[in-house]
């Protein structure tokens, strides 16, 4: 045990003392929000300043009312042939031809364009017609515009979750979605980055031949575990620093906007006239923040750390086995496939199933199977996972990493001493079976 501890220390210090660690640890929490803010800013600005596209139109029906919010519509009086000629010589976006048609059967409306118009453009214009025809039809039914206007009501649904004890908690699906997504992506990145580092470290030891000296002092399994655990502690440290930095930053920003979160939270619980006050403030942002703060953050954090460690150990062992088998990172590619596939499946399912339907059968099973559970469960955990599912998933994850570690250890002990061998899956199987 003492020797594993020495190896853990060594690996930890090796990584932490590197400049790249310091840079990544400090810059990532600053850069990510900055990049997101920048993207939002740029897209907003470009939306604001975007040059409106020009669409010429010929209206034979006489019902078209141009909406100039997104396009500049120019009426063309003349035949379609003339219009086409004129349009072809211009730089404009499109030519819209509206023939005479019956309101019940709108047919023959055509958009001519030099490039294929995007789905958005087409549906925007379609909606324009649909709304106009609806209005006209209603008018024909003698429904007044005023009545029409008074029919429009904006509804916002508050989602409140009632726990079995009867406690009410306001929940916010948007925030849960965001948390699930962020945690899932973070998990994916952590496992891959740190897994790759394990592999890299082992390949270095193998190619520099230092490994033979080391395994004459410690058992190969101790070396492998020391390395994996040492790197895990680096990952955890980095994660903790990120959490601290990001929350400091968040509270700093909140303070800047004059919002005092804990107080707000208390106010919300008081309800009543405070709600009115709240509405007066930038209500959506505040609600989002409150929803975030009312989440069981400690619970989510605990689960993140558990699944990070579990997933990392499970995949880390596999990365270690691959590292021990090859002589260079390029050679490792061929063995990365089976490691990458379950990771990719869980990553893609995160968006396709888990965040959309956290309690659906696919989501539940993915969050229980050990190879996919670290990412899948992080996507679900905010949405309150039944205890039995969480327990089963955790037990299976532990069993999973015990299994992969055992398999990896058997490959590793042989692999690290073999250099210059051509390795394929058959050879790995042989190493696995080989006696001490």
């Amino acid at each position: 045990m003492n020797k594993i501890w020495l190896i853990i220390q060594r690996e930890f210090l090796n990584r932490v003392q590197k400049k790249s660690f310091l840079v990544a640890t400090i810059l990532v929490p600053l850069i990510f929000p900055a990049i997101i803010a920048l993207l939002v800013f740029v897209s907003r600005e470009s939306e604001k300043n975007a040059k409106k596209e020009v669409i010429h139109y010929i209206d034979e029906s006489g019902i078209f009312v141009p909406d100039t919010a997104k396009y500049i519509f120019r009426n063309f009086s003349g035949t379609l042939e003339d219009a086409k000629k004129a349009y072809n010589s211009s730089e404009d976006f499109g030519l819209l031809y509206i023939p005479k048609f019956e309101l019940s059967k709108p047919k023959g409306i055509t958009l001519y364009a030099k490039i294929n118009p995007s789905l958005d453009d087409v549906s925007d214009i379609e909606r324009l017609f649909e709304n106009r025809i609806k209005d006209l039809k209603m008018k024909n039914m003698n429904i007044d515009q005023k009545i029409l206007d008074s029919l429009k009501t904006n509804v916002r649904i508050n989602t409140v979750k009632i726990s079995e004890g009867g406690q009410e908690k306001s929940s916010n699906s948007g925030v849960l979605f965001g948390i699930g997504m962020a945690a899932g992506i973070l998990m994916y990145m952590f496992i891959f980055i740190y897994g790759a580092q394990i592999m890299q470290g082992i390949i270095e030891e193998k190619t520099s031949k230092v490994v033979e000296v080391i395994v004459s002092s410690v058992k190969p399994f101790q070396l492998m575990m020391g390395k994996i655990i040492g790197l895990a502690s680096v990952g955890l440290l980095q994660f903790l620093i990120w959490i601290v930095l990001m929350s400091t930053l968040t509270f700093g920003v909140l303070g800047y906007f004059g919002i005092d979160p804990p107080q707000q939270q208390a106010m919300q619980q008081m309800g009543g006239d405070v709600a009115a006050q709240q509405a007066a403030m930038n209500s959506e942002v505040v609600q989002g923040i409150n929803a975030f703060l009312s989440l069981p953050l400690g619970y989510i954090l605990f689960n993140f750390v558990f699944y990070f460690l579990g997933g990392y150990l499970l995949y880390g062992a596999l990365f270690a086995a691959v590292g021990s088998a090859v002589d260079s990172p390029a050679e490792a590619q061929q063995f990365m496939f089976p490691i990458t596939i379950p990771m990719l499946i869980s990553y893609m399912s995160l968006f396709m199933f888990i965040l959309k339907d956290p309690h659906g059968p696919v989501s539940v099973w993915l969050s229980i199977i050990p190879f996919t559970s670290p990412i899948a469960m992080m996507g679900r955990v905010g949405f309150e996972v039944p205890d039995w599912q969480l327990a089963l998933s955790m037990i299976l994850l532990v069993a999973g990493f015990v299994l992969t570690t055992w398999v990896a250890g058997r490959i590793y002990r042989v692999g690290i001493l073999m250099s210059g061998t051509k390795v394929n899956y058959k050879v790995l199987a042989k190493w696995f079976m080989q006696r001490g």
Binding site: K3, L6, I7, R10, N14, E204, E205, S208, K209, V210, V211, E212, V213, I214, V215, S216, S217, V218, P220, L417, K430, Q434, R435, G436
Partner: protein
């Protein structure tokens, strides 16, 4: 007491046997040459002693005790394929390796200082290994091998990669370590260093031990009762109990001949007979070099 006794060590892999019933006895405080061509099984044997791999059969006793984890601190191992952590500084590296062998940090620091001073490389402490030359790195590696004062030192091709000056330095260190009571196992296929250093040898070929003994025993076993004679005046010596193998002219009017005694007997008989035939200037028994023995044995095996 014997430093190491191996009994019937066998190691099989799927398609070949790396070691087949190898037994050796390595007396304490000697330099023991483990010889054999590439691929004979030397490295497998050494790895088994270092508990890097396990043997399928047989047992090993280290100073009379069955091989176990506690022997890691007793053995110092310099593998043929040298290697250190490239990004790690020399000082940190040596401390780490020494602590893995069970030394305390304090002891490690003290001993490293002594060794660095001895090799006059004290200012390397903060240098990264990747900035050292190959020879320099070898010195550091040698220090790491002997730092924990192992009673049994295993050196696999220790001179490869050293220039003659450093090779001399290492030779002196090896002799010094022996004087201080260490036993040294010395695996090589470079016969000149065997001739200089080893007290005992074992020859492994094709997974089997084919020869073992003290250097003198081995040479006695393989001497062919052949004598080299320098003399003035040709002679012929046919029939009887002698056989004249060669006779060549040297500078001046001297000649050199090799004579084999068909039956092992007293060399004085030969001298007596020679004096009657020619004027003898030099008379010496032809003792086979380790290299001769090595080559004849290994070649003989491969012809079978």
């Amino acid at each position: 007491m014997d430093a190491l006794v191996a009994n019937g060590i066998t190691k099989r892999y799927a398609h070949h046997t790396a070691l087949d019933q190898v037994s050796v006895t390595i007396p304490e405080k000697t330099i023991y040459g483990l010889l054999g061509p590439n691929g004979a099984g030397k490295t497998t044997f050494i790895r088994i002693i270092n508990q890097i791999i396990n043997s399928d059969e047989g047992e090993i006793l280290i100073f009379g005790e069955k091989l176990n984890q506690s022997h890691i601190g007793v053995i110092g191992y310099l593998p043929e394929e040298r290697g250190l952590y490239k990004k790690l500084k020399v000082g940190e590296q040596l401390v780490y390796l020494a602590r893995l062998k069970g030394l305390s940090r304090k002891d490690a620091l003290m001993r490293i200082k002594t060794w660095l001073e001895k090799f006059e490389i004290k200012d390397w402490w903060n240098k990264k290994v990747e900035d050292l030359s190959k020879g320099m790195a070898q010195k550091v590696q040698f220090i790491s091998t002997v730092l924990h004062e192992p009673r049994l030192i295993i050196l696999d091709e220790p001179f490869s990669g050293f220039d003659p000056v450093n090779a001399q330095l290492i030779t002196e260190e090896i002799l010094d370590l022996k004087k201080k009571g260490s036993t040294i196992i010395f695996s090589t296929h470079r016969m000149e260093s065997v001739e200089d250093l080893c007290d005992h040898i074992a020859l492994i070929n094709k997974s089997k031990k084919i020869l073992e003994g003290s250097k003198k025993q081995v040479k006695d076993q393989y001497k062919s009762n052949t004598f080299i004679v320098e003399h003035r005046g040709r002679f012929s010596l046919n029939g009887g109990s002698y056989e004249l193998l060669t006779q060549e002219s040297l500078e001046g009017d001297l000649l050199t001949s090799t004579v084999k005694m068909k039956n092992a007997g007293n060399p004085n008989d030969l001298i007596r007979d020679l004096i009657t035939l020619t004027e003898v200037h030099r008379f010496q028994e032809k003792i086979p070099t380790m290299s001769d023995i090595f080559i004849s044995l290994v070649k003989g095996e491969s012809h079978e």
